[in-house]
């Protein structure tokens, strides 16, 4: 593993930690005193700091440290979380994420924002904490004999006094690292430092397991340590120090009956006496209060007089359950996951696509053989088909990810946008756990960011206007995701003033996007927003008006095979709905024939299929046709015409009509020659090796290994309406020119 790949892993982990951080912070908003949540936030920041330290990312370390210190105060309940502090935490989280990104990409980051946040954070720390410098002092270990690291002793009388105010306990800690602890890059010394921060620490190394020099393996963990720690902190705090080496060492923490070690104990510590026993075994119940290994407290006389320790009577039970608690803790943690290179998954998906095609081919070939008794063969084939489907679904599920991280990022956009526009806004997300293909999530980030900014900037009114209108001063942006009938619906809605249709129309006329004479319906006016070069902002604001319009959003969504639509109610707000296919790799379609060609049309776009009677079809004008469907006249678009296919006696046959309704076009009937089958097809891009072809969205491979084109109904209808001139100045007779 090279340094770079370790670095990559660190940044991947940072992504997850930042996600956890954002999630924790939003939970804190609801329950600011939930210790679990505060701890989770603290841990995220702490882990980023720790990792960053290993890569000498000082700026990141320093910022994380300041952030963490304030979090720590909250954790210790020295600091109450109010709205202002919460906002600061959010900003700190954003800043941390920026710092991580800048460290990862090696880009420069303007320090002004950072300085301001650090200043604000430090204002919460007061003078005492500010003095607490962040540094790891190197402690040299003496390996000549049982080493004792002495942390400055305090006068025993002091301890007695301290015990009056805060009860000080003496913990016995047995720590025996396993080989894996070192292999994972942990350093016991840092743990000791962390313990020393909690109170007075004595560390003694147990070298009894040291092998003879001949058989010495430098990678083996042979040294164990016994420690005694006098601290006012709880046992949980001590356990937290060992959090990251959990499972990598034998650890036992027990409460010594002695809250203050007798002077004799110190003598023992100084006396170089080899450890009699290894600390592998946890203290036996009957031996507690004096644990088996000879350490500071165990040599001290058994408690004769009661000492001010509330836990005194039950030291053994506290130690035992804690050991037991450590094991299930692992099980309770996040589900084990596997990090896999995306390329590998995609290769697997391609291969599985091939498998599906191959399965279809085999079925077709066997059918062609026309064997006399194929019953058992058909059964096996059917089983094969199901298995192939299962594998495919499983593989596709690998790519599916919850939209949560994407939605979480949007809360930052709302914060920044509302700051920049001096509006008050909050983000409400619904359906975070909805799973969508990874590529979709990645490619949705920009359009969503843009729409959220727009919603704050154009959608919401200022707090004054809102209050005047009797609304909550804080505007709500609602971001929701849901699976509905094989598609993913993502809605971005605001509770603002709604679209100002007069202004949109005026703007569109001013920009020559529509002619002033045209009468437009309300949805048509709304859809003007998606025209290229349209921007309603009266002035170029900080946020919008950067030349990126809703047309970019629309294109991005369409590139994913999706659609965007708007609904708006004056005074109530505006909702943008994005409908996306569940996956980009497979699709349910009708296998149809158009002329002599086999093609596929997506089932999702088809409302109904009609085999029309001749009397239902009427000619309008010279060659336009309409079909009456339950009394309504629906225009017919001939797919073969639209694609520029040859005439070939198709007008005589009525063929089959597919009723489709598209976003921009009304109900239309597409005429095709026949429908053969309904099946799931694997989508193959045409663009990767060729260019896009109007009316065709992609291609797929059929059971016979031949390629069938996947039609794009909306484009087909557009093509028919625009009556395209032949782009090549020739009669595009499409036939197999070379058979």
């Amino acid at each position: 593993m090279s340094m770079n790949s370790i670095r990559d892993t660190f940044f991947e982990e940072c992504e997850e930690l930042l996600e956890a951080l954002v999630e924790g912070l939003s939970q804190m908003e609801e329950a600011s005193d939930d210790m679990e949540v505060i701890n989770a936030v603290f841990r995220s920041v702490h882990s980023i700091k720790g990792g960053a330290g290993a890569f000498a990312l000082d700026r990141l370390v320093n910022f994380a440290h300041t952030f963490e210190t304030v979090m720590d105060k909250v954790r210790d309940r020295e600091l109450a979380v109010d709205e202002k502090l919460m906002a600061l935490f959010h900003r700190s989280g954003d800043q941390l994420s920026d710092l991580v990104a800048s460290a990862r990409d090696g880009t420069d980051l303007d320090p002004s924002a950072e300085t301001a946040i650090v200043k604000e954070l430090e204002s919460y720390l007061g003078s005492d904490a500010a003095a607490e410098e962040f540094s790891f002092d190197a402690v040299t270990l003496d390996f000549d004999g049982p080493a004792a690291i002495e942390i400055p002793d305090i006068d025993i009388s002091d301890v007695g006094e301290a015990a009056d105010t805060e009860t000080e306990y003496c913990f016995e800690i047995q720590f025996k690292p396993e080989r894996t602890l070192y292999e994972n890059g942990h350093e016991p010394l840092l743990l000791f430092d962390a313990l020393a921060e909690l109170g007075e620490l004595k560390v003694e190394a147990d070298l009894s397991n040291l092998p003879s020099f001949d058989s010495f393996d430098p990678n083996d963990a042979v040294i164990a340590w016994s420690m005694s720690l006098k601290t006012t902190e709880s046992e949980t705090t001590i356990q937290e120090v060992f959090e990251f080496v959990d499972g990598l060492c034998d650890l036992s923490i027990s409460l010594s009956s002695e809250t203050s070690p007798a002077p004799k104990a110190e003598e023992v510590a100084e006396e170089p006496e080899p450890e009699p026993a290894s600390s592998e075994e946890p203290p036996k119940a009957e031996e507690v209060p004096s644990p088996p290994s000879a350490d500071v407290a165990s040599v001290a006389p058994a408690p004769a007089a009661p000492v001010p320790s509330p836990k005194e009577e039950t030291p053994a039970p506290t130690a035992a359950p804690n050991m037991a608690a450590a094991a299930p803790k692992e099980a309770r943690g996040p589900k084990p996951t596997l990090r896999v290179d995306l390329d590998r998954v995609d290769r697997l998906i391609n291969t599985v696509g091939e498998l599906i095609i191959n399965q279809a081919m085999i079925s077709q070939r066997i059918e062609e053989l026309d064997l006399p008794t194929v019953a058992h063969l058909t059964n096996e084939l059917e089983a094969y088909k199901l298995l192939a489907r299962d594998i495919q679904e499983g593989v596709m599920a690998i790519r599916a990810q919850p939209v949560k991280p994407l939605f979480q990022r949007m809360s930052r956009i709302v914060r920044e946008a509302s700051d920049a526009t001096h509006k008050k806004a909050k983000l409400v997300t619904v359906g975070d756990s909805t799973e969508v293909d990874k590529t979709v999530i990645e490619r949705l980030a920009d359009p969503l960011t843009h729409m959220i900014r727009n919603a704050v900037d154009h959608g919401l009114e200022t707090a004054e206007i809102r209050e005047a209108a009797g609304k909550d001063a804080v505007g709500t942006i609602r971001l929701s995701a849901a699976h509905r009938s094989g598609s993913v619906f993502i809605e971005i809605s605001d509770d603002g003033a709604g679209l100002n249709r007069d202004r949109i129309l005026a703007k569109a006329i001013e920009k020559n996007l529509v002619s002033p004479e045209v009468e437009l319906s309300e949805p048509e006016i709304d859809n003007l927003l998606f025209l290229p070069g349209f921007s309603t902002a009266g002035q170029v604001s900080n946020l919008s008006g950067r030349g990126v319009g809703m047309d970019v959003v629309k294109n991005a969504v369409q590139a994913l095979g999706g659609r965007v639509s708007i609904t708006s109610t004056p005074g109530k707000g505006t909702t943008f709905t994005i409908v996306l296919p569940l996956t980009l790799a497979v699709m349910d379609g009708f296998v149809i024939s158009v002329g002599n060609q086999t093609m596929v049309i997506p089932i999702s776009s088809i409302l109904e299929t009609i085999r029309p009677n001749a009397k239902d079809i009427h000619v309008v004008g010279t060659d336009s046709q309409v079909v009456s469907v339950r009394g309504a006249y629906v225009p017919i678009v001939d797919v073969a015409d639209s694609l520029g296919l040859t005439e070939e006696e198709r007008k005589e046959r009525n063929g089959i009509l597919l009723l489709v309704a598209t976003e921009s076009q009304d109900l239309t009937a597409l005429r095709v020659s026949a429908i053969h089958d309904q099946r799931q097809v694997v989508i193959k891009s045409l663009e990767s090796n060729y260019t896009a072809i109007p009316g065709v969205s992609a291609a797929t491979i059929l059971g016979d290994g031949k390629i069938a084109l996947i039609l794009d109904p909306e484009e087909l209808i557009k093509l028919a309406h625009s009556n395209p001139l032949d782009p090549f100045g020739q009669n595009t007779n499409m036939e197999l020119r070379h058979a």
Binding site: M734, L736, H738
Partner: protein, 155 residues
């Protein structure tokens, strides 16, 4: 070792020669992925005549061009010896229908002559150079030119 290999690659070129539109052409062997027998393709709508359609190459959809038609030499007549040369340039894979494949040609770099200053700009662009072999002339196909055409179909 790397130097000698590089030096060798610098001077020695291997080409596969084939005929299209009654003329001899060749392509550098490193650009060729495979050579396949002709099988019917799926035609594409709204495409010029030299685009025959698309073919399934182990799961990838690749466009097939009639090289003869592309160079303005008329459609390739159907023939049992017709093959599709699958070539790759800069991540794009395409198939070229040619009349027949002839042989592998190994030549020194110096044997490749520059295209002389012929009248037709399009023709000059479509070939990268010429190689003289036993009194016949072999034209080196400029794959980029074939691709540029394909990208520019919408003009």
């Amino acid at each position: 070792m790397p130097e000698t290999a590089e030096a060798l690659a610098d001077t020695q070129f291997e080409f596969i020669t084939f005929s299209a539109g009654g003329q001899n052409y060749c392509l550098e062997i490193t650009q060729i992925r495979e050579i396949r027998r002709w099988t019917p393709v799926t035609a594409l709508p709204h495409t010029p005549t030299d685009v025959l359609g698309v073919m399934n190459l182990r799961g990838a959809v690749i466009p097939i061009f009639d090289l003869s038609a592309r160079f303005g030499l008329g459609k390739t007549p159907a023939n049992e010896r017709n093959v599709v040369i699958v070539a790759a340039v800069e991540g794009t894979t395409i198939g070229l229908l040619v009349e027949s494949v002839s042989e592998i040609l190994s030549v020194e770099k110096s044997a490749i002559q520059e295209t002389p200053d012929i009248k037709s700009e399009a023709t000059r662009h479509s070939i990268r150079g010429m190689i003289s072999v036993d009194e016949t002339m072999v034209r080196v196909v400029n794959l980029d030119a074939v691709l540029e055409h394909s990208a520019g179909v919408a003009q």
